[in-house]
């Protein structure tokens, strides 16, 4: 849907069943399309929301991955969208530097649950996120890398955010 419009140009694109939580960032690629990055899982990510068919919560299917969705707006013949899992690590609450919303971005953060050796919590039924993971070179498939910063053996990481040291600083300093 174009910004500033009345919503009459809204188009829906079908895709497979997924469960998305947070947007990391989104930008337009000219008139061609839009690209957004989400924390994205194949199954319900919320253990306290019951499944309609009574199926138990699936902690594996609920693992979130930073995934890019791209829509081609130039043609109406393609009803779907493209999906690309950017990093193999699972985590939650992906986030980019808030100063770069709506424009192309290069780095992100999320709470990393892929490297934890701690047991799965009986309450949340998922592995604890005990590291903040810096997702670098988001736009470059060749240079993408992820670096984990562990919070310690008895700590978990909540949503991370970028804290610029000053207005012109590169988005590096973080607080979790």
């Amino acid at each position: 849907m174009r910004r500033g419009g009345d919503g009459s140009d809204l188009r829906w694109f079908k895709g497979p069943e997924r469960c998305a939580t947070h947007t990391m960032g989104t930008f337009s690629d000219g008139d061609r399309g839009s690209t957004s990055t989400w924390t994205w899982a194949s199954k319900n990510q919320f253990p306290f929301f019951p499944n309609l068919d009574g199926a138990p919560f699936d902690p594996i299917g609920a693992q979130g991955h930073v995934t890019r969705l791209s829509v081609d707006l130039a043609t109406t013949s393609r009803p779907g969208y493209e999906m690309e899992m950017l990093y193999p690590h699972n985590g939650v609450l992906s986030r980019q530097d808030d100063r770069y919303h709506t424009v192309p971005y290069g780095v992100g953060l999320h709470a990393d649950g892929s490297t934890s050796e701690r047991p799965i919590s009986t309450s949340s039924r998922r592995a604890p996120c005990d590291a903040a993971q810096l997702l670098d070179a988001v736009r470059s498939r060749a240079r993408r890398r992820a670096t984990s910063y562990f919070a310690g053996p008895d700590s978990s990481v909540q949503e991370c955010c970028f804290v610029p040291r000053n207005e012109r600083a590169r988005p590096r300093a973080t607080v979790t």
Binding site: M1, R2, R3, G4, G5, D6, G7, D9, L10, R11, W12, F13, K14, G15, P16, E17, R18, C19, A20, T21, H22, T23, T26, S28, S34, S36, W38, K43, N44, F46, P47, F48, F49, P50, N51, L52, D53, A55, F57, L69, V71, L73, A74, T76, Y81, D98, R99, Y100, H101, T102, V103, T122, S123, Q158, C161, V163, R165, N166, A173, V175
Partner: protein, 534 residues
């Protein structure tokens, strides 16, 4: 019917009834008996001061409207009141026949002693019906003493003085009980707990400490008081005050002294939602109260870090409101201030901890921004939201967000009641719901937002509205209503320089969505859809 002959009359030689002066002199003469009795009964009447606050207590704590409470407790009172009154009279008679000449006041004292735990505990209950149960027991036990209390006064006062003494007693009883009592409760709420939503603790404190002084007895039921004996020498009564004071120390002590926060969790079973870790109700209000023992001291901060970090989330120290999910917890806004020098935190925000860093120092302040109002009828100007999900800085204000309600607006650094500021922002006044994840355009500073649930048309799903606000918080470019193809979780959304995109997760359960309950997630029944436009 002939009036029975009066006995024990206190007339002078001319046959005149006792004037007021004689009554006062009589009371003063027997002050050893009447003093403790009047004083005890007057203090006891302070408990009445909590009665006008019971309906607001139910409203603020459990979300019951006054009408709802009135109907339920009124009916319960009709059933239980005769029980207490009748039993009290029968018990006094029985003890009198056994030779206890202070039977009436003994019943009053025993009733006051026995009902005290219920009076203290009922405001602290986690559920309204448990509170109602204890309140009913408390009421029955109070009423056991109501009849004997009046009878005790009658039987020790000479015939002609009974009317005047009773009038004096009722004056004291009413002035203190219905005049001073409610005011004391209000003052405790405002100046001790400093939060109107913590009325429950004021009532408990009032019932436990201030109003627990049972009347003193005198000997000689049915005869003149001698002042030689009093119930304060009776077993049990002398233990009452120390017990109450111990309890008051528990109520007033800092949380960290009574129950460390990290130990205050338990696991309970939430209907239909599995087992969740939820928090045990605390006897104290907001406060993280980190100490040097619990706060990490090995934080290394960049030397040039200077600013504030706001954090929002549910606070689990309040009792669970099942079947609400944990995300429905009270909003708990914290601010970490990083500076080379420690700054004085704006009052009444309090610094709870100081984290020493290598090159800087951080202070932590926490404060609730909203009290839960689940189930309360909407009131104009009062948000039902818990403000626990997102915090965004825009047009000079902090917007504290929860999807089912308008933003709670705070000026950074100020700790005024957020709800009073609620409608001073365009962002607040335009939305009954508001996304917790608005996007701020990097180029224009425009805030693009989403109203998550618009209108229902029959059983069909909702429309959602997208709209935006400029840098100054004024409504900017046009609002757009979109119709979601099916009920699903439209949690976050995406904004580019030119487009807005929505992602509707798997199907939700329409009936539950109608009931504004947590949505259900289906598995594999329908495809996801992602909206965008050219």
């Amino acid at each position: 019917m002939h009036e029975p002959a009066r006995r024990g009359r206190a007339m002078d030689a001319a046959g005149r009834a006792a004037p007021a002066g004689d009554v006062l002199r009589y009371l003063w003469k027997h002050r050893a008996a009447f003093g403790p009795m009047f004083g005890g009964l007057a203090l006891n009447s302070l408990a009445l001061g909590t009665l006008p606050w019971v309906a607001p207590f139910y409203e603020r704590t459990y979300g019951w409207s006054p009408a709802q409470y009135g109907i339920i407790f009124g009916f319960v009172y009709l059933l239980i009141a005769p029980l207490g009154l009748t039993f009290g009279g029968l018990l006094a008679e029985r003890w009198a026949k056994q030779g206890r000449n202070d039977a009436n006041l003994r019943v009053v004292a025993v009733a006051a002693l026995v009902h005290m735990p219920f009076a203290i505990l009922y405001p602290l209950m986690p559920t309204p019906y448990l509170a109602l149960t204890l309140l009913s027991l408390n009421t029955v036990l109070i009423l056991i003493g109501a009849g004997p209390q009046n009878a005790a006064l009658q039987v020790i006062v000479p015939n002609e003085m009974r009317g005047q003494v009773t009038a004096l007693f009722l004056t004291i009883f009413t002035l203190i009980g219905f005049g001073v009592g409610p005011t004391v409760v209000a003052l405790i709420t405002d100046y001790v707990f400093r939060d109107e939503n913590e009325l429950r603790y004021s009532i408990a404190l009032m019932n436990g400490v201030l109003a627990r002084r049972p009347p003193q007895s005198c000997s000689g039921a049915g005869s003149r008081p001698t002042g030689a004996r009093s119930l304060r020498r009776e077993p049990g009564n002398g233990d009452l005050i120390p017990l109450v004071l111990d309890l008051s120390r528990t109520l007033l002590a800092p949380r960290s002294e009574t129950r460390p926060r990290h130990m205050s969790t338990f696991t309970t079973t939430a209907p239909n939602f599995g087992r969740q870790p939820l928090a045990l109700a605390s006897t104290r209000r907001s406060g993280w109260n980190a100490t040097s023992a619990t706060a990490r001291s090995k934080v290394v901060l960049p030397e040039d870090l200077n600013g504030s970090f706001y954090r929002i989330g549910p606070d689990f120290q309040y009792p669970p409101r099942l079947p609400n999910i944990p995300f429905d917890g009270e909003g708990h806004l914290g601010v970490f201030r990083f500076a080379e020098r420690p700054r004085r935190l704006p009052q009444p925000l309090r610094a709870h901890a100081a984290l020493q860093g290598a090159g800087g120092r951080a202070r932590v302040a926490v404060r609730h921004v909203s009290q839960s109002v689940h189930g309360r009828p909407a009131r104009q100007g009062v948000s039902r939201g818990t403000a626990n999900t997102g915090v965004v800085f825009h047009h000079g204000k902090l917007l504290v967000l929860k999807e089912d309600s308008p933003p709670v607006v705070r000026r950074p650094g100020h700790a005024r009641d957020a709800r009073r500021l609620l409608h001073r922002s365009a962002a607040s006044s335009r939305a009954s719901t508001f996304t917790a994840h608005p996007k701020i355009d990097s180029e224009t500073g425009e805030l693009v937002a989403l109203r998550l649930r618009g209108a229902w048309r029959g059983s069909r799903p909702t429309t959602s509205r997208s709209y935006s606000f400029d840098r100054s918080g004024r409504a900017a470019r046009g609002e757009a209503w979109i119709k979601v193809p099916y009920v699903g979780m439209l949690h976050d959304f995406a904004v580019t320089q030119t487009h807005v995109a929505f992602l509707v997760d798997a199907d939700g359960h329409e009936r539950r969505a109608h009931e504004a309950g947590p949505a259900c997630i289906s598995r594999g029944t329908r495809a996801c859809r992602r909206g965008s436009a050219s």
